[in-house]
Point group: C2
Chain length 500, copies 2
C-alpha cells in the first residue's frame, strides 16, 4: 500500500508509525501490529499505532527515529506492508504459558529488547510472565549470556575482580573504599555503578562529586590500564543494555523478577570479564531482600550461576536494616568517603568496606584465607587506599588533591531533634531516602541529610537526630515537613506495632 508521509518531530523510544484505522484494517494490522516501510532503497520495520483522525486515510505518521532511518520528507510516498510480529513474541507467549525457554528463544527475546523491536505491551507480558512463572537456572544462564552478547564487552585480561550490592540501603558507599583498597594490591577492578533511580544517590552520582563518571569504552580502558581500577557510570558504556530496558518496565509494576535480577547483575560483571565477584546482600527493614531465607536462596543462586558461567562468586548477607555511613546524598556521601580514606569517616562504613575488601582479596587468591581483612585494614590505615583513590580521581578528570572540607554542602539547613530520651531503635532506610530526595538530592548534589546518630546510641530529649541540607528555603521546608510526618528514626519505644 502506498501512503504519504506526514512528519512529526518527536522522539519515540522505538520505531513507531501511526496509521489511519481504515488503512490499518486494510493492511490487516491491528494494535501494536508491525509494518515494513520502504522508501527508495531504504527499509524499516516499525510498530504501527492506529488513530481514527490524527492521521488521515492514505497518510502515515512518521516520528523522528523512523524519519532519520528512511530519510523521508513530508509528503514522500512510502510503500507500506504488514509484516509478522517477531518470533520473540511467540517465545514470550511460551513463557507466559509456563514453558521453559531454550537458549535460542531467550537470545531472540533479548536481541529484540535491545533493538527496541518490542512494544510496551509485549515487554510487560515478558516481565510479568517471567515474574510469575520464574526461570530455571538454564534459562538464567542463557539470559545472562544473551544480555552480555547484546552489549559492549571489554577484556581486561585475567584475574579481574568485582563487587556488587543488591541495594536498598541508604548511604552504603562501600564501593568507593573497596575499589581503591583492592586496586592497591595490583588486582584489576573495573567497577561500573548505577545512578539513583528512586534513591537520593547512586554510587555514580556520589563519585561524580569527585570526578567524571561518563566515559566511552576507550577512555574507560585507558583509566583502568593506568590505575587498575575505575568507578564510572555503567550507563555511558553500553554494557548489557537489555537490563535497563527490562527495569524500565519492572519499575512501574513494582516487579523485581528474581531471574532477571540474577542475570542482570551477572551480565554487567561478565561484560567487563570479571572472574571473582563478591555480592553484598543486605537484609532487613526497608532493604530490597526481606528475610534470611530469601537472602540465602538468592545467594546460592548467585553462586550457582557464577559456577555455570566460570566465575567465582561469594555472597555476603549483611545487616541492611539501617543506613551505612552518616551522609545521605551525593556530596555528603563523598565527604564521608574522603574522611574514611583519612581514617576519620563513619565507623560502620569503614567496617563494612574492610569486610568486603578482605573477602574479595581472599576469594581472588591474592591473600590467604583469614588474612584478607587485616591486609585491607592495613592498606586503608597506611594511606595506600587514599593514594590509589586520588590516582583514580585524577585519571577520571577530578582534583587529586581534594579534601573533605572542599566538598560543598548546601548552606540552607535544619536539624531535626529527638522528642524522646532513650536508645535509637531503628533508622528506616526508605523514609530517610525519601526525606533526602525531598531535600533536592540527587539532582542537587550538595543536598541531602546527615545522620548524627546510629542504631543503639543512647540519646537525650532534644539531641540532634539528623540535619537536612537544601538548595532553597522551599525545598528545605518540604523536606523538614516530610521528616516531621514520617519520623524515620525511632527512639526509646520497642513497640513495633499496636494491634487493636
Amino acid at each position: 500500500m502506498k501512503l504519504k508521509a506526514r512528519l512529526y518531530p518527536i522522539e519515540a523510544d522505538r520505531l513507531i508509525v501511526v496509521l489511519n484505522e481504515e488503512d490499518a484494517k486494510d493492511l490487516g494490522v491491528y494494535v501494536s501490529g508491525r509494518v515494513r516501510i520502504s522508501y527508495k532503497d531504504r527499509k524499516a520495520t516499525a510498530i504501527a499505532d492506529t488513530t481514527a483522525s490524527f492521521v488521515k486515510d492514505g497518510e502515515i505518521g512518521i516520528f523522528e527515529d523512523v524519519r532519520k532511518l528512511l530519510d523521508v520528507s513530508d509528503g514522500s510516498n512510502l510503500e507500506v506492508s504488514a509484516t509478522k510480529r517477531p518470533h520473540s513474541v511467540e517465545f514470550i507467549k511460551k513463557k507466559v504459558d509456563g514453558y521453559t525457554l531454550n537458549e535460542n528463544e531467550i537470545r531472540a527475546i533479548i536481541r529484540d529488547i535491545v533493538d527496541n523491536n518490542l512494544s510496551n505491551i509485549e515487554l510487560s507480558a515478558f516481565v510479568t510472565g517471567g515474574y510469575i512463572k520464574g526461570y530455571t537456572m538454564d534459562e538464567i544462564v542463557a539470559l545472562t549470556q544473551a544480555m552480555v552478547e547484546t552489549g559492549q564487552q571489554i577484556d581486561f585480561g585475567d584475574n579481574i575482580v568485582d563487587k556488587h550490592s543488591i541495594g536498598g540501603v541508604a548511604g552504603n558507599r562501600t564501593t568507593m573504599l573497596v575499589v581503591p583498597i583492592i586496586a592497591s594490591t595490583g588486582l584489576i577492578i573495573p567497577k561500573t555503578s548505577s545512578r539513583a533511580i528512586t534513591s537520593p544517590s547512586g554510587t555514580a552520582d556520589t563519585m561524580e562529586v569527585l570526578a567524571g563518571v561518563e566515559f566511552d569504552i576507550d577512555e574507560l580502558k585507558e583509566i583502568v590500564y593506568k590505575t587498575d581500577a575505575c568507578i564510572v557510570w555503567g550507563g555511558s558504556v553500553n554494557l548489557a543494555p537489555a537490563d535497563d530496558r527490562i527495569i524500565r518496565v519492572e519499575y512501574p509494576l513494582s516487579i523485581d523478577a528474581e531471574g532477571h535480577m540474577l542475570a542482570s547483575v551477572m551480565a554487567k560483571k561478565r561484560s567487563v570479564g570479571s572472574d571473582y565477584i563478591i555480592i553484598d546482600i543486605p537484609v532487613g527493614r526497608g532493604s530490597k531482600i526481606i528475610g534470611m531465607d530469601r537472602a540465602n536462596d538468592v545467594a546460592h543462586k548467585f553462586i550457582e550461576l557464577g559456577r555455570r558461567l566460570g566465575v567465582s562468586v561469594e555472597c555476603l548477607i549483611t545487616d541492611g536494616s539501617s543506613p551505612i555511613g552518616s551522609g545521605i546524598g551525593p556530596a555528603l556521601e563523598a565527604r564521608d568517603v574522603l574522611l574514611a580514606l583519612d581514617n576519620k569517616g563513619p565507623i560502620d562504613l569503614i567496617d563494612k568496606s574492610l569486610d568486603l575488601a578482605g573477602i574479595l582479596l581472599e576469594l581472588s587468591g591474592k591473600i590467604v584465607k583469614g588474612r584478607g581483612r587485616g591486609i585491607a585494614e592495613h592498606i586503608l590505615k597506611s594511606g595506600k587506599a587514599k593514594e590509589k583513590m586520588m590516582e583514580i580521581i585524577d585519571a577520571q578528570g577530578g582534583d587529586p588533591n581534594v579534601k573533605p572540607e572542599d566538598i560543598g554542602i548546601c548552606r540552607k539547613k535544619m536539624t531535626i531533634t529527638s522528642e524522646h530520651k532513650g536508645r535509637v531503635r531503628y533508622i528506616d532506610n526508605k523514609l530517610i531516602s525519601m526525606i533526602a530526595r525531598a531535600s533536592g538530592a540527587p539532582r542537587t548534589k550538595s543536598a541531602g541529610l546527615y545522620l548524627h546518630v546510629k542504631v543503639g546510641d543512647s540519646i537525650d530529649t532534644n539531641d540532634p537526630l539528623f540535619t537536612i541540607y537544601s538548595p532553597t528555603k522551599s525545598r528545605l521546608k518540604e523536606a523538614s515537613n516530610l521528616a516531621d510526618k514520617l519520623s524515620p528514626i525511632r527512639v526509646g519505644s520497642i513497640i513495633s506495632n499496636i494491634i487493636k
Copy 2:
C-alpha cells in the same frame, strides 16, 4: 514545580505528558509515573513519559487530550507535581502475585481502564496476570458487573433474549436469520454485533451491506421499539467499553484469558438487559475453542455466571471445524442471508440458524420444549422471518425491497479448482479467512470468496472449489497466490500429517 507548556497537536489514546529526564528525576517521577498538572483552576492527572532531548529542562510536552482538558496555550506556566499511581495498579500487582481480588478492587481496575488511567505496561500486566493466574467465579461476576456499570445500559423491559457466538468460524452469519425468526414471535432481541478484527467480516460488516449499523442509544431504542429487534454494531453504543480496551492488549499477545472472555460476553448482554441467552460454542479445527473438554468447561462456566447474574443461559457446542454458509466476505454473506430468507440459501447456514432459534424460543418459555425448531422452521418457510428482516432493514435505514441479486459482488474473479478426485475432507476456517481478507474483505464489502463445495462432497479433478472476488487485479492475484500456497481445502487424502 513550574514548567512551561509546549504543545504537540497529537492525539494519544490516554492522558500523557512528556517531561525532561532531569525534571522527572527531580520530581521523583520514573517511567510511566504520574503527575498532577494545574493551570488556573483546572487540574489533570497524566502519565509522564520522559525524554533526554525532545522536551527541554523546564518544559512539559502537552498532547492534544491534555491541552483540551486544561485549555492551555504554548508557553503557559503549569504547576506540576508527582502523584501516586492509582490504587488499581496495586490490585493488578495483587493478581500478578496470585491473590484473589475482591469486588472493590476489580471495580477500581475496570474503572481505571475505562477512564484510560492505566499505561500499556500496566494493562498488559493485568491481562497477562489474569491469564496466568485465572479468576474465580466471584471475580468473574465482579468483572462482569464492573464492565456493565462503567458503560451505557439500556432497559428494554422483561423477557429480553439474545444470542452470542464465540466465533472463529468463517461465514456463520446465523445472527441475521435467528434475530428475525425470534422477533417474529414478539420476543425482543436487541442484538449488538462486532466488526471484523482479523476475520474477513463481522456480523456488523455483513449487516452494513443491507442497512446502517451505527446508531446512538436513542436511535437504537427507536429501532427496537418499532421492530422488537436490531442488528447493529456494538461499538457505536458504549456498552461495556472496558472489554474493547482489554482486547486491544490481549490481541497482540495472542492471549484470550477465559475470565475476561466470559465477563466480556455477559457484560455486553447484561448492558442491554438480556434475560435469556444462548451461546454458540464452535469446536474444531481452526475455531477458537479446541477440544470438547474445554468447550464443556467453558459452557458450564457461562451457565454458572448467568445463574449468578440472574440470567438463563444455554450453551450449544457446535461443529466449528469448517465454514458455515457459502459466501465469505460482507456482500457474499449478505447475499447468502437473503437467499436463506427466501428458503434458497446454504443448507448448513439455515440448519444451524434454525437449531439456535428453536432452542432460544424454548429457553425463553415462549415455546414448549421440543417444538422450538419446528416453529422456527415454520417462521422461516412461511416468509415471516423475511418480512421481519425487511422491517429491521427498513428501520435501520436500508432498502426493505432488497433482493439477493441486488447485492453487488466484485467483477474481477478467479475460480480455484481441485487437483484431486475424492471427498472433501476439510475446509480450514483460518486459511479461508486469510484468503478472503487478501481478496479485499472486509474493507471492500463486495470482495471475498464463494465456496462451491462442503465437507463430505464427492468431487472430480478440476471441479471448482471456490471463487475469489476482488476489487483490483493485483488484489485478485495476491489472494489467488495465497490460495495456491495455503491449500485451504483438502480433497481425497485422509493423511493428516507425515512424521519422519
